[in-house]
């Protein structure tokens, strides 16, 4: 599965970038996230409940941030597995400073999906991913609003 | 997963059963393995094939999509309520005469779909019959002889009246 998209954050690039390094913010933004723990500067462990059509299951996995070029770009490597299969993905995230206290986030990525999730849920997975991204960005917008605009 | 048991009372083919079941027990498994009513068959467990169709308060539903606890207080009919080998239900008789079954696995589901259909629509067209059984999969017959059997049953029913 390939993913691609962008989102405009109403905050300066540094603030947005910082938020992406904050497990509390990410953990709160991802729907179904049950636990997200920072292991070190670039590794996180997470437990995530996913529901795709008839398949719903918990996935436990790792999130690794690599090739970090603060505050311009970062590569995310996600590996998760659980009773309903596995997900393995790479995401390339770029933060463009648009100059007016706004930041354009652009992402591309690719995910391999296996097990029940693939054999039964494949049909729905693209739309589930899309709606998940939408929710994540909406929540991050709110978090930013609270953090940035309060300051 | 909690193993808590829930008491249920279900009327199946006119007999009242009181049992204690786990919340996750499928109605299809309950009918087959708890009550021993083996005529209801399980073909896909995701509500597409229709082999497990039963009558739930008179309406055709898939018993693999319902939990046994949801049947509490309801009335169910399975294929065992139609006819016996010695005295077939008229629709069963038509299935026999028109060779509308081969392996027989999907057949109870077809019968339980068609019984309420024929009650509502005693003189269906071929197209209406095909629409009615479009939620039941048969891999053996190609459906032709099932349609013939339903027409046969409908014709005999109107003659009898």
């Amino acid at each position: 599965m390939k993913v691609e998209g962008e989102h405009l954050f109403k905050a300066p690039r540094e603030v947005v970038y910082e938020m992406f390094n904050d497990p509390d913010a990410l953990g709160a933004a991802v729907p179904g996230m049950q636990k997200m723990v920072k292991i070190d500067e670039s590794h996180y462990e997470a437990v995530l409940g996913i529901r795709v059509g008839p398949v719903s299951a918990n996935f436990s996995g790792n999130l690794t941030l690599t090739d970090e070029v603060p505050p311009e770009s970062v590569t995310l490597i996600i590996e998760g597995k659980g009773g309903a299969g596995f997900v393995k993905g790479v995401g390339y995230v770029k933060f463009e400073d648009l100059g007016d206290q706004t930041t354009l986030l652009k992402y591309t990525g690719e995910a391999n999906i296996g097990g029940t999730l693939a054999s039964v849920g494949q049909r729905m997975i693209d739309s589930v991913a899309k709606s998940m991204f939408k929710t994540v960005f909406e929540k991050l917008d709110k978090i930013l609003e609270e953090r940035w605009q309060k300051n | 997963m909690s193993n808590k048991l829930f008491p249920i009372t279900v009327t199946v083919n006119g007999v009242e059963y009181k049992r204690e079941v786990e919340a996750r027990l499928l109605l299809s498994d309950f009918l087959r393995h708890d009550l021993g009513l083996l005529g209801t068959h399980v073909g896909c467990e995701h509500g597409i094939c229709g082999a497990c169709t039963i009558l739930f308060d008179g309406g055709a539903v898939r018993s693999c999509l319902i939990f046994a606890v949801q049947a509490n207080g309801h009335e169910i009919r399975t294929v065992e309520s139609l006819g016996t080998p010695e005295n077939l239900h008229p629709l069963q008789q038509s299935f026999h005469e028109k060779h509308a079954l081969q392996c027989g696995f999907c057949t109870p589901g077809f019968l339980m779909t068609l019984v309420p259909f024929l009650e509502e629509n005693p003189h269906p067209s071929d197209d209406e019959i095909r629409e009615a059984i479009d939620g039941n999969i048969c891999r053996c017959t190609g459906y032709e002889k099932i349609v013939e059997a339903v027409q046969d049953a409908a014709a005999k029913n109107s003659q009898a009246k």
């Binding site: - | 094939c49 399975t78 081969q102 392996c103 696995f105 019959i129 999969i137």
Partner: protein
């Protein structure tokens, strides 16, 4: 012999029990004390196993045992080569890598078994999957056949130099020479899609070890109980007499249930013996998609060489065949493809090359149609392309090249799945085709219906194709017929039944031969304690082989009846005749002796019998043909299609079929109609899709679309056109019919679709078409 039953549309004897829910399928059998097995299956298609830790699972209440490959110790070994390749094809190469019961070290397909959980209920057994830690190192998967064949590909089996499972070249005449004389040579690459058998009942297996009697009883939804018995005997080192395999009622077979899959039929008996408890496993639908064998999936590179006048000079086909991760079932499917490609037309020069490829997918074994569909599709398509190129109608081109009645029997020179050279033994191929044109009223469609529809802006097309169905192959089948002292007759056979009406059709033969009421004949199939010889139910061979054996055994019993009666009545045999249920003296209808009485006389409890006299009114007979018999026919379809939705509708279908003598035309029509629905499904709906990582992404009926009642033709006619020669192919003149219906719908529908768009350059190069694929094709056209 008066034929009261044979050839008549006798209603089935088994129906009334099936209709009322009074028969037992495997899951209906409850053995006291039984435990339930569930298989933890691999999420990965290709990976090295680093660790499987099931220790936590054992702590779960209700879990009795968990086994991984290591727990089976020396018992773990690859299974038998169930169907070896024929040795008679010179230069053919075959790498046997047989199915393993449970993955060890390496996972080779998504769905391969990693652990067996035994628990008090199936629910608990599946719960325990969450407790098992599986640590693997994923590998790239081999999915694409042509790329997988290349030497640069990742290897499914590390010990082989490539993914070549087999390479078989068969040539008749000299294609390359013939091509030099051709006016037109056309080359195409075509895809044949991957489809599932999808019987409505999934597989099921119960193994019950009796420690006191040292006997294993097995209930299995198998097409071949004797194969299971042999497999368990070999694996556990038991005498076959210690193993009793019973096939209860089976909810459809269609091919894959002939396979031994080892996880159930080898591991579960072993576990039952270890735990001294009956073990039951019932497959669920997702497992059926992932881990029950499936078929088709070929890529053909075809070439046809013709003269300007349409005479076919030669045909060449190099095709890739997906065997999946293992090849225990040998080359049955691609060999069937080879024999069927050349089975219809006069093709003096023929070259066919099988490139059988290992992939990271479930094993491919025969599914109704079994290689025949693929061969017929490839040839019929190429004839269509040739017709377009030559500007000849596809009908005329076929009529010109179809084999004529006086050209049969024809030795094609191509060795088939039965290891012998394929003989096209009988039939009127051209006659079938002309009959089909007549019934579908081809002329009227061309002159009136199609032009009128076109004027109204509607797209409608016609396709008429020819096909053959190789059936009734050996090696042999047999049966035993016994008359009881009650006068009831029992027939037992090693065959097994999945809905083919064996209880009725074999009873028809016996009831006529012995002149008894059909209700007094009991047919028992699929019980190894009743009859223990035979190969199993496959290749459309039951009616022909078991039917012939039944006839031969009935003849022997009949002779015994007359000799016993002759002695008792002291009347010469030629003065006796069979009256219903008894023997009577010709001209003296009052002098009769019931068959039951004769059965008692034939089994004296005291006194002496003459040397050479066998007791009882009982006889066993076997029948094995020297080669298979070829069913044949033609199919015409009229398809309309809405250009906006690209949804095809089959307005009319005519199938002309020659299956020789029919024991029961009602059953024959049922077989043909069922096959047709499968052929339509294969063409317009069903498709097993593996992604580039080897993940099957269509593992439910939500994604794998089965043909429904509304998908069948609006009008379907079946025409029986049995040639004289077809009625002589074996003792009863029976050819198989079980797969015929599934074979021609593909090429017929595709031809009709192209015809509906004959003003465009629409050219369809695959066997499975969803509306979105048709849309893509039309964009290109």
């Amino acid at each position: 012999m008066t034929e009261k039953y044979f050839g008549k549309p006798i209603k089935r004897l088994e129906d009334k029990f099936m209709l009322t829910g009074n028969v037992k399928y495997v899951d209906d059998i409850e053995v006291p004390g039984q435990l339930h097995a569930a298989f933890l299956r691999s999420d990965y298609a290709h990976a090295r196993i680093l660790k499987i830790d099931a220790s936590e699972a054992l702590k779960r209440p209700g879990v009795v045992a968990v086994y991984t490959a290591d727990d089976f110790g020396d018992f773990w070994k690859p299974g038998p080569l169930q169907v070896p390749p024929p040795t008679a094809i010179p230069g053919s190469q075959f790498n046997a890598r047989t199915l393993v019961p449970i993955a060890k070290d390496k996972i080779r397909y998504s769905g391969e078994v990693l652990a067996v959980v035994i628990a008090e209920s199936r629910y608990i057994a599946e719960d325990a999957f969450d407790d098992i830690i599986v640590d693997v190192d994923p590998l790239p998967a081999v999915v694409d056949l042509e790329k997988g064949w290349e030497n640069t590909s990742v290897l499914v089996h590390d010990d082989l130099p490539s993914n070549m499972a087999a390479l078989v070249k068969q040539e008749v005449g000299n294609y390359e020479e013939a091509k030099k004389n051709a006016d037109v040579v056309i080359s195409k690459r075509m895809l044949i899609e991957h489809v599932a058998a999808a019987a409505m009942e999934n597989r099921g297996f119960i193994a019950s070890w009796d420690e006191r009697n040292q006997e294993m009883t097995i209930w299995a939804g198998t097409q071949s109980p004797l194969t299971i018995r042999g497999s368990v005997s070999r694996a556990l080192g038991l005498a076959e007499s210690q193993i009793h395999v019973i096939t209860p009622y089976i909810g459809g077979g269609f091919g894959p249930k002939v396979m031994t899959s080892l996880a159930d039929d080898v591991l579960l008996p072993w576990i039952s013996k270890q735990l001294k408890r009956p073990i039951k496993w019932i497959e669920d639908r997702r497992e059926n998609f992932l881990a029950t064998t499936s078929e088709r999936d070929q890529v053909h590179h075809c070439e046809i060489a013709l003269k300007k006048d349409g005479t076919i000079l030669g045909f060449k086909d190099v095709f890739y065949h997906n065997t999946g991760a293992y090849d225990s079932y040998g080359m049955t499917v691609p060999l069937n493809t080879q024999t069927h490609t050349i089975s219809n037309y006069r093709i003096p020069n023929f070259y066919s090359e099988i490139r059988m490829v290992f992939t990271n997918q479930m094993v491919v074994t025969p599914v109704r149609g079994a290689g025949r569909s693929e061969g017929i599709f490839a040839m019929e398509r190429m004839v269509d392309f040739a017709a377009k190129e030559l500007g000849i109608s596809p009908i005329e081109l076929r009529k010109k090249n179809l084999l004529r009645v006086d050209e049969l029997p024809l030795n094609t020179g191509v060795i088939g799945q039965d290891f012998v050279v394929n003989i096209l033994d009988s039939g009127d191929y051209l006659g079938n085709y002309e009959k089909c044109l007549e019934v579908i009223d081809y002329e009227k469609f061309r002159k009136e219906i199609q032009p009128k529809a076109r004027k109204e802006g509607k797209r409608v097309g016609i396709g008429v194709v020819a096909f053959t169905e190789g059936t009734a192959v050996g090696p042999y089948e047999g049966c035993r017929i016994t008359v009881s002292t009650s006068g009831k007759v029992t027939m037992t056979s090693g065959y097994s039944t999945q809905g083919q009406a064996h209880q009725t059709v074999f009873a028809q033969i016996i009831a006529d031969q012995l002149n008894v009421k059909i209700e007094d004949v009991r047919v028992i199939t699929g019980d190894t304690n009743q009859f223990a010889w035979g190969a199993g139910t496959f290749a459309s061979r039951g009616a022909a082989l078991v039917g012939a054996a039944t006839y031969l055994a009935a003849q022997k019993v009949r002779a015994k009846i007359f000799s016993t009666a002759s002695k008792k009545l002291e009347v010469p045999e030629d003065e006796l005749e069979l009256c219903e249920g008894s023997v009577c003296v010709k001209g003296q209808p009052e002098t009769t002796i019931p068959l039951g009485t004769l059965a008692a006389l034939a089994n004296p409890m005291r006194g002496v019998v003459e040397p050479g006299v066998e007791p009882g009114l009982e006889a066993t007979a076997y029948y094995g043909p020297p080669h298979g018999s070829t069913g044949c026919g033609a199919m015409g379809v009229i398809v309309s299609i809405d250009e906006e939705t690209c949804k095809p509708v089959i307005e009319r279908m005519v199938m002309v079929d020659d299956c020789g003598t029919m024991i029961n035309p009602l059953i024959v029509d049922g077989q043909l109609q069922g096959g047709i629905s499968m052929g339509i499904g294969n063409t317009l709906y069903e498709r097993l899709v593996y992604d580039e990582n080897g993940q099957l992404v269509t593992a439910s009926f939500m994604d794998y679309l089965m043909p429904l009642a509304t998908d069948m033709p609006k009008k379907l006619d079946i025409v029986h056109n049995h040639a004289e020669s077809s009625l002589k192919v074996n003792p009863l003149g029976i050819k198989g019919v079980g797969e015929a219906g599934a074979i021609p719908p593909g090429p017929a529908i595709v031809q009709a679709l192209e015809d509906a768009f004959q003003d465009t350059k629409l050219e369809i190069l695959e066997s499975n078409l969803s509306p979105s694929q048709i849309y893509e094709y039309l964009k290109k056209a």
